[in-house]
């Protein structure tokens, strides 16, 4: 074997010595979990591109989360693609040391229930930190449609023309589930994300949209729409508008409305990959809860027009598990309502 030059030799020795030292000391003594985060960099993955609702929530939550963790700094990493699936997969595969957490669309509950291809993440295995949002959903009709109540729509005797983002998106599945639950005939015009769909309603092209209360504001304040039904209640939502849960008459309908309500309530959540050590997860959950109660946070959220409905991590983990454990009947209904190719057929799981 040819001899190494002196400098190279000493480098090799150094590496070997370091390796030996690493072996002999064994596992490092466990740090106090609270001290673990001190001065470190927290990576916060947002599974959508910069700008928009998820990004705004993510940036705000991460900033205050880092404050209460005592982290040195926080890096927000936008990983868009595939309707939040790419970023969620990335988060799922991240190192479970507690230093990588993130936010993604709660509509991925549907994706997992429907066993959508491409989604590698299993939501029930993730380390849930807490949630910040959750809002009622409203069925809004355009003023130009002339529909001011559910009865008006039924009396028309033709399908209601609705706008939605695309098959598989949360908005589309919500709309079709609601229609199936209350027995409404609909025809969905796809490729109309929230704002495009609203413009289409203002033009009089489409007639209705099923969206979160805060998203409905441009239609309602401009006098372009009426709320004809709601799922859930909350600030700023007219309690006199019929609740879908009171309108449905069949057991299937009740199940579907319950599913919509559960998914709508679990929004703007923060999670880490599976296997974050329990004591660190506790610290993350406590920091998240403290962040969301911070007066500065609440003031910023109000200024950014972000409704806040907090839930603590342990409760969120339970809620996620509960919503992912659906009876076969609901899954069958979901699969047929979603209209998605490759959706879970009865008896598939």
């Amino acid at each position: 074997m040819p001899s190494l030059p002196a400098s190279r030799r000493s480098f090799v020795c150094l590496v070997l010595a370091a390796a030996a030292a690493g072996c002999s000391t064994g596992p490092a003594p466990a740090l106090n979990p609270r001290e673990f985060f001190a001065g470190k960099t927290l990576t916060y993955i947002v599974a959508t591109e910069a700008g928009g609702g998820y990004d705004t929530y993510g940036r705000l939550v991460s900033q205050y989360l880092a404050k209460y963790l005592g982290a040195g700094r926080v890096v927000v990493k936008n990983i868009p693609g595939g309707g939040h699936i790419v970023g969620t997969n990335e988060l799922y595969r991240a190192r479970p040391d507690g230093l990588t957490v993130g936010m993604f669309n709660s509509g991925l509950i549907y994706a997992q229930l429907l066993q959508r291809r491409g989604l590698q993440a299993r939501l029930d295995r993730m380390s849930w930190v807490g949630k910040a949002g959750g809002e009622p959903r409203l069925l809004v009709t355009s003023t130009r449609s002339g529909f001011r109540s559910l009865d008006d729509i039924r009396r028309a005797g033709r399908p209601l023309l609705m706008g939605a983002g695309g098959i598989g998106t949360e908005g589309y599945i919500d709309a079709t589930l609601l229609a199936a639950a209350v027995g409404l005939q609909t025809r969905v015009v796809l490729g109309l994300a929230t704002r495009d769909s609203q413009l289409s309603m203002m033009r009089g092209d489409t007639e209705a949209q099923f969206i979160s209360a805060s998203s409905s504001r441009p239609l309602l304040t401009g006098g372009y729409g009426h709320v004809v039904m709601r799922v859930g209640s909350g600030p700023g939502v007219d309690e006199r508008v019929p609740e879908a849960g009171d309108v449905v008459t069949t057991p299937d309908g009740v199940r579907l409305v319950a599913l919509i309500r559960a998914v709508a309530a679990l929004s703007r959540w923060t999670a880490g990959p599976p296997g974050v050590p329990a004591e660190r997860l506790e610290v993350l959950r406590a920091a998240h809860a403290a962040a969301l109660a911070d007066p500065g946070f609440l003031k910023d959220a109000k200024r950014l027009d972000l409704p806040i409905q907090p839930m603590e991590g342990a409760a969120l983990a339970e809620a996620v598990t509960r919503v992912l454990t659906q009876p076969q009947e609901t899954l069958t209904l979901l699969a047929s309502a979603s209209g998605e190719p490759g959706a879970a057929a009865p008896g598939d799981r």
């Binding site: 700008g51 868009p80 693609g81 790419v86 796809l190 490729g191 704002r195 413009l199 304040t221 200024r303």
Partner: protein, 499 residues
Amino acid sequence: MALILHSLATLIFDPSLWLLMLAAVAMGMVFGAVPGLGGKLGIVLSIPLVFGMETLPGCVFLVAMHSVVHTGGSIPSILLGIPGTGPDAATVCDGYPMTQRGEGGRALGASLAASAVGGVLGAVFLAALIPIVGPVVLAFGPAEYFFLALLGLTFVGAVSGDDLRKGILVGALGLMLAFVGSEPQTGVQRFTLDQTFLWDGVDVITAVIGIFAIPECLALVAGLPTDARRIGADTRYGFADLFEGVKDVGRHWGLTVRTSFIGAVIGLIPGLGGDVASWMCYGYAVQRSKTPERFGKGAVEGVIGPEAANNSKEGGALLPTLFFGIPGSSGMAVMLGALVVLGVQPGPEMASKHLDLVWVLIWTLVVANVLAALMFLAVGRWLALVVHLRAGLLVPFVLLLACVGSFLGGGSWENLLLLVVLGVLGTAMKRHHWPRAPFVIGLVLGPIMELSLHQALTIWGPAFVLRPVALALAAATVATIVVSIRTTARRKGAARAAA
């Protein structure tokens, strides 16, 4: 009138607003000039900055920054053949050949003047439409989008160069690549090869870099080593060259005004976006030229058209954003969020309650665009020096910039694989003298045509073709084709007579 002048006074007699605008314009130009960054990211990064500001200065900062991004974005398009942003991609077609011919300074001059004029005319357009904003924005729906995209597709004929058949084939290839991604109706993955990065389709910036920039880079290094290889032929750049370009805008005044108008109209239609505006205006410039054969080889009109359009579209895009709360583009979507942060609630009441703010923003568009042109003029001469670097030094830098642009544009490293594939395709096309612009036109217009056709059919059925605006656009399409066939026939006849 008093309100209009008062708003102007508010803006120009406040030194702190001047400072803010200077900072914003410099920032916007840099975000445009670094490939892959763009105005949207600019706003995202400014949100913490404007968070503590008062409403007026905050809005002025954001609008000033966002409105000049494409003034800066043309710099790498022209000098290096790499678009700074998507809407600056069309400028590569003729801007870069001008640089290669030693006219980089002139191309930069034309670009900065066209951008400034476009930006100012966009502001005028915005101001003129305030009283009738509702009917105008609401005149365009899926039926109209479809025919507008179809009209855009006829420009493939114009940018095909000598051989129309080749142009149509390349355009069709672009349209086919537009099919890659989630099918909008069924959610089925089309040609995505089980790769999630392809779910949202082929990234336009990556496509332009692959088809245009990579082949030029390879051509530059082919035959190395030689110290003489540089992008630019001429080594003397001065203000004279820049002014020559500025004068070009005066010489093509009609084209500048018309493409500014087209850009502003496309900007005002939510969902079409800046890529469509600049490529359609490029196509328009070629089509209206008496000597279309000069395009793709360094025709200054090929710089003026898209650069006027991509700045004027900002004025148009502010209309639906401010008065409907509906953003005209993804950049405007972020702007909308930022305006909310600043305490502005966009919507119909902007025209009644906050008209003073609207007028300040219109003036901001004007002042920022002029400031950007002056700033550009001041540094343009030094920027042009980059093309005199030896190719051996420059090419690695350009390739790195190309990779960064593609990575940031698509947001995933797999885009670099796509860049290689498209780079090979672009190199083959260049070597065999196939036109490359039709490819990008097909890629940009394909998704809009497909989606709007589906939507129009769901809403109205086949009767969508009978809607008035749609009919007018269809008639314009037919007229464009007839005129271009007649012009070509006449030119060929003249050539035959001469021979």
